[in-house]
Amino acid sequence: MGNLEKLKKAFSESLEIEPETITDELSYSSGNWDSIAHLALIASIETEFDIMLASDDVIDMSSFQKAKEILGKYDIKF
């Protein structure tokens, strides 16, 4: 599974949405993405990519696009 698919899987499972509905514009506070889901999303991303995100990155991860940018800092390319 490629990195994009892995990230979509993490978003899909933690926010309980269909993978095909995930776009770069998907952002915090939209749909199911509330503060509770955010922490589940972070745990899911960390598990999927076997990393531990810095606290600032957890807070800054406010959209799907932003998630890709942040993961770039952890040598995860899209």
């Binding site: 922490l39 589940a40 972070i42 745990a43 960390e46 598990t47 531990m52 606290s55 957890v58």
Partner: protein, 252 residues
């Protein structure tokens, strides 16, 4: 659910674990099977010595991290290391604490900053990082070491008492927030315990404190460690948001 105190297969991080109650807790949790990770602040030599002592007594290898719990970046680095090696954390004991006694009117800004940095900020930082690791497995136990002073107060301990009352507030809120992730958060409020904190007490004050203990003796660090063991183990699997006094019936 297991029916004993076994911590086999569990990973435990104990802050401030090179001396006193933290060290007693490290020995106790190791004795019951946990893989313990130590933390100290001042001396790498003491940290190495403690690792050697655990190895000698229990035939285990353990890690240790020298950092100030009030330093968030250092804490993050520690949890990154824990994650890399163990991939999980089951138990956090927020034990590291500091004490700057001063009467009202004699309290310096630095006393407040230093005490709250360790006793309050440190607890929140570690709790936050630990909860993130624990939430992946939907399981964990966090034990925060407060103090009897945080519940009933004591003369000359406005700063310390404030910080330890904060630990109780942190515990109660975190317990509510993390319960749905099956992460339990409890506090222990030790009374008069035989640690480095009591060594500087003048004999008259020591006796006065002792007189306030209904059981008539000072508590030993191992007795606090036993309470930690209970809260860390599955025997307390339905207990969260509680403050357990370990004080021999002390009234201040």
């Amino acid at each position: 659910m297991t029916s004993n105190f076994s911590l086999e297969g569990k990973v435990a991080f104990i802050t401030g674990s090179t001396r006193g109650m933290g060290w007693a807790t490290a020995r106790t949790l190791t004795r019951f099977g946990a893989t313990v990770i130590l933390n100290g602040i001042n001396s790498q030599d003491l940290l190495e010595q403690r690792k050697e002592e655990l190895k000698k007594e229990f035939n285990v290898e353990c890690d240790g991290f020298l950092f100030d719990v009030g330093d968030m970046d250092a804490a993050q680095n520690c949890y990154n290391q824990i994650f890399k090696k163990h991939k999980k954390l089951d138990i956090l004991v927020n034990n590291a604490g500091t004490l700057d006694d001063n009467l009202v009117g004699m309290i310096r800004k630095e006393d407040i900053r230093h005490t709250f940095s360790t006793n309050v900020n440190g607890v929140i930082y570690n709790l936050q990082f630990a909860a993130r690791l624990m939430s992946r497995n939907k399981s964990g136990s966090i034990i925060n070491i407060s103090s009897l002073v945080g519940r009933v107060g004591n003369e000359g301990q406005v700063v310390y008492g404030g910080s330890k009352a904060a630990v109780i507030g942190i515990t109660l809120s975190a317990a509510r927030e993390l319960a749905s992730k099956n992460i339990r958060v409890n506090a222990i409020a030790p009374g008069f315990i035989n640690t480095d904190f009591v060594k500087p007490l003048p004999p008259a004050i020591f006796q006065q404190r002792l007189n306030s203990v209904k059981m008539g003796r000072i508590g030993e660090p191992e007795e606090v460690a036993n309470a930690v063991l209970f809260l860390a183990s599955d025997l307390s699997s339905y207990i969260t948001g509680q403050v357990l006094g370990v004080d021999g019936g002390m009234i201040m």
